[in-house]
């Protein structure tokens, strides 16, 4: 029994006892189940396993602190209305906003943050990390860290553009279909059915094999694949709005389709559409990352996270985690967006009940 193990268990047990004493049920269940899990992990993995748990808990606590401070920071900056909303945000959502904020800064100021150019060869292949290179070099001797920073701009930028295009097409068609109804609605619905019957990755591969993997092709392909999903949701959301009496009143007044969409339907469908935008971004981002990973995304030498994973994958078999970093970067952003969306969806569904 090392001192570490003893401190570990005594801290956990003291924590759970205190929680039980002060009648904090959820904290107690959490701490005590962690203790039980620790017994199992400790028996199997020894102190190493416990250390891993401790490190995870430490990282979580750190993330929680960052999220808490960031939320307070935002509340301070925002106006009273927004601040009231922000106070309801759980820590996960605050964490999500913090991550998104960091990524945005990194993407926008990439050339100033990155120490080297994204295609600049500065050392030998797979050179280990030194004081010059934070994360070492990739398979051609380029700085991993710089490529990671530039990757934010390229990967996220591409996914964002594609999502915007998909939204423009899908939401536009959805609003029109909801307001116009009739044959246009039917036709659009059928087209969406057909496109959605082809698995997204497969459809993307088909289009890329024909038109070649270039930026515009990827953006268009992804937009075509995801527009029907946006269409379906917009159609459903707007469908609930167009049955309202105030829409009927506007129609009977003789208002044109443009006015109906702009002034009557859109303002009342905004909240779910914004949440959907986040959700679609996640799907698009993962699809684009998948394509890059297959070597069919953004072409070299442009830095891109998906292809960085593929190019450096051989390092995994030597137990080196470097290729996992860009993959983790993808996962982190998607998780962050999902956290925020989860909160927004909860808010909009929770508000409906009142």
């Amino acid at each position: 029994m090392s001192i570490f193990v003893i401190t570990y268990y005594s801290l956990l047990l003291a924590g759970s006892t205190a929680a039980a004493f002060f009648n904090k049920r959820s904290i107690f269940t959490l701490l005590f189940s962690l203790t039980l899990v620790s017994f199992v992990v400790g028996i199997i993995g020894g102190p190493g396993g416990l250390r891993a748990i401790a490190i995870c808990a430490g990282i979580l606590a750190l993330a929680a602190m960052v999220s808490y401070s960031f939320r307070e920071f935002l509340i301070m900056l925002a106006g009273p209305e927004v601040a009231k909303e922000l106070r309801t945000a759980p820590l996960t959502a605050a964490f999500g906003m913090f991550v998104i904020f960091t990524y945005a800064i990194t993407g926008i100021f990439a050339p100033w943050i990155a120490p080297f150019g994204e295609a600049e060869v500065i050392s030998s292949a797979f050179a280990p990390a030194d004081e010059n290179m934070l994360l070492g070099a990739d398979q051609l001797g380029r700085d991993m860290f710089s490529r990671l920073v530039y990757g934010t701009r390229n990967s996220v930028g591409l996914a964002l553009t594609a999502t915007c295009l998909a939204f423009f097409l899908g939401a536009g068609a959805g609003l029109l279909a909801a307001v116009k109804g009739g044959w246009f609605d039917q036709l659009m619905g059928r087209i969406a059915d057909v496109i959605m019957s082809i698995p997204s990755l497969i459809f993307a591969l088909l289009m890329l094999s024909i038109f070649g993997p270039s930026m515009p092709v990827i953006i268009c392909a992804v937009a075509i694949i995801y527009a029907p999903r946006v269409f379906r949701l917009t159609r459903a959301v707007a469908g609930n709005v167009v049955v309202m009496d105030y829409i009927e009143a506007a129609k009977l007044r003789g208002e044109g389709t443009g006015y109906l969409i702009r002034r009557e339907v859109l303002p009342n469908s905004m909240a779910p559409l914004i949440a959907e935008f986040g959700l679609e971004f996640c799907f698009v981002f993962l699809l684009v990352a998948g394509l890059s990973f297959l070597g069919l995304g953004i072409q070299p030498p442009t830095a891109d996270w998906g292809s960085m994973v593929r190019e450096n994958a051989t390092l995994i078999s030597f137990g080196d985690i470097t290729p996992l970093i860009p993959a983790a970067a993808i996962a982190l952003l998607t998780v962050a967006v999902n956290f925020v969306v989860d909160w927004m969806l909860f808010r909009s569904s929770g508000l409906k009940e009142h």
């Binding site: 309202m244 009496d245 007044r253 002034r263 009142h354």
Partner: protein
């Protein structure tokens, strides 16, 4: 009346909290209630009064997102429910306290036969064997006057009509012969002619088994028939409690008096101008939704300038469809709508602005008829801008004028959003929007049915005043005969897409009637506690309700 011997349910200082906006707020703020064996108590109040929450609370049950606060006491037959364990409370539910929900269609499980759901509680409590329980169910079905009592239980809920389901649910509540049944608005979703059957059946069975009941409703006339005592609630607090007769005769509190106030307003009967052309004339209209069955069948009636025509009928009678035909939302498959003698374009999309502005609508639910994201100034201003091309200061002046017309202070309401207004104010904004188009004809679709009595009367007075000032013609779509009596000049009665009778108001409320008009008029509950008893004696059970309506339709 030797009912009041033993206390069955005693609620003291009941507080129930609901979770909203991240904090717990009181929904029920300390209500006391005493119910004796065999007594029926009516809980009455508007939506949001908390009557349904009290009903569930009487079973020791708090719905999701609510909790019963400490210090409340619910004592059922000597047992304290607030401190009882979950399984102790469960043993009461179904066996000794039963519940009848508002929507029977949603409250029966679609996956099981009615009788299997009926026998679930008796089998659970081992009171009866399956066969006995089924026999008993059929017996109860017969007592509740369900058609084919031997077979109806073996159907699935969706195969049975709403009024029958509601009675089947009452039978289910009776299955263990409970001491107390909680009726949570059991007839609210039903038509008046159907409602009367269900009311009669419920009253009989509660009487036969001497069951105590809490009868929750917002309809005063209904509660007057059903309850021995009435308790009036407002926003989670008790207003007053008294025996039904006492309460009807001498209500103490102002709020109760306002509820009881019979509609005092009645506009004088106007006469059709001699040899004038009707403003709106429906001529032999047939209409249906996309090749479905005919919703309107050879409908004709006229509306003259400056007069009010009420169109009366139950759900499915086609009264709203007639309005949709006039506005052009549903082009008729046969017939014409004439406006001052010239035909209206069938489809609203093809109508020129001047035709569109002539005919405006006011809707039932003020919540869905005003765009929540737009300010009052724009809601009212848009038609003025759209039809008359007003801009800037002219537009502002016109909106102010309209707000004055509907008796709202312009400077206060100009920049507000609909969510900041009360129900009656929203309805006034709806009226102003219709007036902004400077129409000659306004369709009022159940405009007062979502409002409280007093507010509704204010709206009717306003509409009448506007009619006199602006020489407007109204078409009132309603199922509420009190409204018909107070505002209309002429009445059109519809049943299953056909006009069964029409004429001047004064003639319509005097016999002789068409049999359907008669059925409809007689089915509307009245405030008199003996109304149902008298009616049943006069007519007999078989001449009321769905069966009678169907018989009339066949002829």
């Amino acid at each position: 009346m030797n009912k009041k011997k033993e206390v069955l349910l005693e609620i003291k200082n009941l507080r129930i909290e609901g979770y909203s906006d991240e904090k717990w707020v009181d929904i029920i703020k300390g209500v006391d209630l005493t119910l004796h064996r065999g007594e029926v108590m009516g809980l009455i109040g508007e939506s949001g009064a908390g009557k349904s929450t009290i009903g569930a609370g009487a079973m020791g049950y708090a719905r999701d997102g609510t909790r019963i606060s400490e210090g409340s006491s619910i004592e059922f037959d000597g047992m304290e429910l607030t401190t009882a364990t979950e399984s102790e409370k469960r043993a009461l539910r179904g066996a000794r306290i039963a519940y009848v929900a508002q929507s029977a269609a949603a409250s029966f499980n679609p996956a099981h036969k009615i009788i299997d759901q009926h026998t679930e509680a008796p089998l659970q409590y081992r009171l009866q064997k399956r066969m006995e329980a089924q026999e008993d169910a059929m017996d109860l079905y017969e007592r509740l006057r369900l058609p084919h009592p031997q077979e109806i239980g073996f159907r699935y809920p969706h195969q049975v009509s709403g009024g029958q389901l509601q009675r089947a649910m009452t039978a289910m509540a009776m299955s263990c012969r409970p001491d107390l049944i909680i009726f949570d608005e059991p007839t609210t979703a039903l038509d008046v002619t159907t409602q009367i059957e269900v009311l009669a059946a419920i009253r009989d069975i509660v009487d036969q088994f001497n069951t105590a009941a809490l009868y929750i409703t917002h309809d005063l006339a209904v509660v007057a028939q059903m309850a021995d005592t009435i308790k009036v609630l407002l926003k989670g607090e008790e207003v007053e409690e008294a025996s039904t007769e006492e309460m009807l005769k001498n209500p103490r509190e102002d709020y109760t008096k306002s509820l009881w106030a019979v509609r005092s307003f009645e506009s004088p009967q106007r006469q059709r101008p001699k040899d004038g052309v009707p403003l709106i004339s429906l001529q032999n209209i047939d209409a249906s939704y996309s090749s479905g069955p005919k919703i309107l069948d050879d409908v004709s009636f006229d509306v003259y300038e400056g007069m009010t025509v009420s169109v009366v009928g139950e759900s499915g009678s086609g009264k709203s469809t007639a309005a949709r035909v006039i506005t052009g939302l549903l082009p008729p498959s046969k017939g014409e709508v004439l406006f001052k003698g010239t035909p209206f374009t069938h489809d609203y999309r093809d109508r020129p602005k001047d035709e569109l502005r002539q005919c405006q609508m006011i809707y039932q639910s003020a919540d869905t008829s005003l765009n929540p994201k737009v300010k009052i100034s724009e809601i009212i201003g848009r038609p003025a801008q759209f039809y008359s091309g007003l801009k800037g200061a002219d537009l502002k002046a016109r909106v102010d004028e309209l707000l004055d017309l509907i008796e709202l202070e312009p400077s206060q309401y100009y920049n507000r959003y609909p969510s900041e207004l009360s129900g009656g104010q929203k309805q006034r904004i709806g009226i102003a929007r219709a007036l902004a188009a400077e129409p000659t004809f306004i369709i009022c679709d159940e405009v007062t049915s979502a409002l409280d009595q007093l507010v509704a009367e204010g709206i009717l007075r306003l509409l009448d005043r506007l009619q006199n000032e602006l020489n407007l013609a109204y078409m009132f779509i309603t199922h509420d005969l009190a409204t018909v009596r107070s505002i209309s000049d002429e009445v059109v009665v519809m049943q299953q897409g056909k006009v069964v009778e029409q004429g001047a108001k004064d003639d319509m409320f005097k016999p002789p009637h068409h049999p359907y008009t008669d059925l409809l008029l007689s089915s509307v509950p009245e405030m008199d506690p003996n109304w149902l008893t008298t009616l049943l004696e006069e007519r007999g059970v078989e001449n009321l309700g769905d069966a009678a309506a169907a018989k009339i339709a066949e002829k």
